[in-house]
Amino acid sequence: MIWTSFLHAACLTLCAPPLQDAVVVEQPQEPEAPKAQPAVAPVVPVVPAADLRLHAERVYTGTGEILKNALIEVRDGKISSVRPGRSAPEGVLQVKAVTAGMIDLSARLHSNFNSVEQSTEVQPHLDVAGSVDLHDKRFARLARTGVTTVLVNPLDRNVIGGRGVALKTHGPMEVEARRLNGRPILRGAIGSEPSAANHAAFGRPTDFYSRRPTTRMGVEWEWRKAFFDAVAAKRLPEKDFPGAEDLREALAGKRTVMIQAWTTQDIRTAVYLDEEMQREGFGDLDLVIDAGAEAWKEPGILVRNSTIVVLPPHTAGGRVGSDGAFLAWNTASLLVGEGLTVCLSAHGAGPGSATLGHQAGFAMRGGLSFDQALAAVTSAPASVLGLSERLGTVHEGMDADLALWNGRPFAATSRVTGVLIDGVIVVDPR
């Protein structure tokens, strides 16, 4: 299980033409099995906790029900039962409120410039898992704020940055053991960030940043070209390139495409790109817009394309991001009202800042109902990751990822005091 993804990656790199040498590496006639054999047994995940019970005055299940005075039992890292109307037995951990552990699809936990391969703009096959440092304190900090699962993406300096990886914020210290295998995600960006470091070839180009794209239209061109070339490569194998298979999977809807697009023009570009792919007969992207701050300006195009939106953190003045986008505080409420799936994100804010829980509160300030806000930080992101059977709600059979609150969730006067991940008490409220 753990090694299939590795073998998959190995196969892709094996089929890759030489990336650097002038000398052409001889390719075999057919793909061989990788040379190396795993020399060690797969790493065993964290030993699940023994039976654990906790009692909550209120359990916000996320399925529409609020259970009062419920006793939750955890076994083997899963919730084995949730029974309301019980009083707290002696010595059992008691809390005021329980929600599912929150999920942040845009926690920005990458290792900055070490996480994006900038030698070319289009790198669909490179997996950010190679650069994730699980010893980074940010994982623990996010866990303390009640975020139990994050999606780590490459830094958005490339047009197409590569594959994201979904991880829980606590668990085995090896990425392959900890990664969650839900829907595969392809990450990219539209806007000014991918072209930010590039420049035209004035004078003597001293580095490989003298290249396209240098403008938004160049960025869009790269996207379109990548998809066109991937489709062409299927019919003309000599045109194959690393990542073509990933792009074809994206077109087939088997790999979710997550595009960062802050401003309304960039959101539009992303949706039009998808629609063009449909018109050309190449496929239909499963599109998620990240940091879609200005989605409130043209919700219609998102509705007609069934695009999912991840919103960035709310700010005091409304301006967010480097492109000066304006996030109205009622955006979540407006989009949910239009029937769209909306997820909230906190961009990695730690305790003391405006955490993901606070963002849910701010969305409520903008008009979102409590249930909708809860969904936006639990069940909606879980469905984007394709992990709805395991994460995002509190009931029997789900992973025991729980956020324990000392008051009403998302209120500014309460906070996460305890966290369980896979049934392990990662943050103890006692």
């Binding site: 300006k297 003391g352 309460s414």
Partner: protein, 486 residues
């Protein structure tokens, strides 16, 4: 439902016209100063006086800008000639008090390191967005001081965030002198400390020099004062013995106060305990320097420390000195133990509460980390509501020397009232109205900037007509040849 007199409506119309001509988005600002004897009353669903029990169906009567009565609607009679704000669906709270800020000025810092002769009144910008935002977050009293990048900074003042001129905004002038114990950029701690000590030594030498001149019959200082255009009449022409708790200069009564160099006078006021000192500390080690300077020069009793987040480590020192503090940074500090590599979180207000040190919170921006948000965070970390609200009302009022005047709804206090749609510490409630000195100065229903922030008002004529763009026939065919098939 708001009961408004025609007079008020007319005034609103006039002010709207005047203001919208020059100022974008300030149209929620209404009416001018309270005139003596003018009466205003607020009838709210619940009145929280913060000086006792909450009063359901409460009434507050304000006359001439001061609260004259607070009680339940049954007990308090509203004068027949009072304007009434009738809002039974809202809750009334005392306006919040911002204990220390450097916002609202055109620039928070002056490059001259030792400049006690400056005054923030020359720098405050009445139309700065900061003051508007104060009203939106329910702050009705603001202590404006120079920024932290100084050694000895300007004289500050307490203002209300409403008024077209600084004079209109004034609540209390000469509200303290700003000092920074943290090194100004480019300075080392040693240089900072030396310059600080040197400033007070300089004062002492100046005063001794004045006394010496008087004793020898030299009238240089008098000529200098006249040359500087200073007033030597009345009280200013008289000398007074130095009254300080620290060092003293014998014979100062020989020197008319008006002849003290105007550059040194604010320091003399400080040393004589006439104004408070606001001393910024950027690190725990600065606290020791701050307390030392204050006690060596006799103004420890009037010292308030403005603290960065790491200064909680010096809490014992602060408790021993018995001074109050203003928390000027994030409320949670995370530090990694280098040996165990574990991270430790400290909730800073909790440290000060446990040590019995009076502390006030200060807002960091207008919405996501305003005073109400910080107070709410205190509750999340175990404070009672009363303790949390005190940190933004009564405690800063005490620190500013305005106890009983602001931060509570009691007879005799200024008529500063917030009307909120619910618990002000709740993320879903809003400040709907603000009354300052018995005047309605903020009405959220006409606050366009807040509307824009909350609802993303799209300018007219820019509605989306986003449809699928037209594609030409031949382009489609070409792509189909090269690319893959369905």
């Amino acid at each position: 439902m708001i009961q408004q007199s025609t007079r008020l409506l007319q005034r609103i119309a006039q002010t709207h016209l005047a203001l919208t001509l020059g100022l974008l988005g300030c149209s929620f600002l209404l009416s001018a100063q309270a005139e003596a004897g003018e009466k205003y009353a607020v009838r709210a669903g619940i009145v929280h006086t913060l000086a006792g029990e909450a009063i359901p169906n409460g009434v507050i009567v304000i006359e001439g800008g001061r609260i004259t009565a607070v009680g339940s609607a049954d007990d308090v009679k509203i004068p027949w000639d009072a304007e009434v704000l009738d809002v039974p669906h809202l809750e009334a709270y005392p306006g919040f008090v911002e204990a220390h800020t450097s916002s609202g000025m055109d620039r928070p810092n002056e490059s001259v390191s030792v400049a006690p002769f400056l005054n923030v009144r020359d720098s405050i910008d009445p139309v700065a967005f900061y003051f508007e935002d104060c009203l939106r977050s329910g702050i009705t009293t603001v202590n404006v001081q120079q920024g932290n990048a100084c050694i000895i900074g300007a004289v500050g003042m307490v203002v209300k965030p409403h008024g077209m001129t600084v004079e209109e905004m004034l609540v209390r002038p000469r509200a303290g002198l700003k000092i920074s114990a943290a090194p100004k950029s480019g300075m080392s701690r040693a240089t900072q400390a030396q310059t600080l000590r040197g400033a007070f030594t300089g004062l002492r030498l100046h005063l001794e020099d004045l006394v010496q001149q008087k004793r020898t019959g030299n009238d240089f200082s008098r000529r200098e004062a006249l040359y500087q255009g200073r007033d030597l009449a009345g009280e200013r022409g008289k000398g007074r013995a130095m009254m300080s708790k620290g060092w003293t200069v014998e014979g100062l009564e020989l020197v008319p106060r008006g002849e003290v160099d105007e550059k040194q006078e604010p320091l003399l006021d400080l040393v004589e305990g006439r104004v408070p000192a606001w001393i910024y500390c950027g690190a725990p080690m600065d606290v020791r320097l701050a307390l030392e300077i204050a006690s060596d020069n006799g103004f420890l009793e009037r010292t308030i420390l403005v603290l960065d987040d790491s200064c909680w480590k010096a809490a014992d020192l602060i408790a021993e000195a018995g001074v109050s503090v203003v928390l000027d940074s994030t409320l949670v500090r995370t530090e990694m133990d280098p040996k165990t590599e574990e991270e430790e979180e400290v909730f800073i207000p909790g440290v000060f509460k446990d040590k019995g040190i009076p502390f006030a919170l200060s807002s960091r921006n207008s919405t996501t980390e305003s005073l109400w948000f910080q107070a709410a965070m205190c509750v999340a970390h175990g404070f009672t509501r009363a303790e949390a609200l005190a940190a933004v009302t009564t405690t800063p009022a005490n620190i500013l020397g305005l106890e009983g005047e602001v931060g509570c709804l009691c007879p005799g206090a200024a008529g500063n009232v917030l009307l909120t749609s619910g618990d002000p510490l709740s993320v879903t409630s809003f400040v709907e109205y603000v009354v300052i000195d018995g005047n309605l100065v903020y009405d959220r229903s006409v606050d366009i900037r807040t509307q824009h922030l909350l609802e993303g008002v799209v300018p007219e004529g820019t509605e989306s007509h986003a449809e699928e763009p037209e594609v030409e026939e031949d382009t489609r065919k070409k792509a189909g040849d090269e690319g893959g098939s369905r």
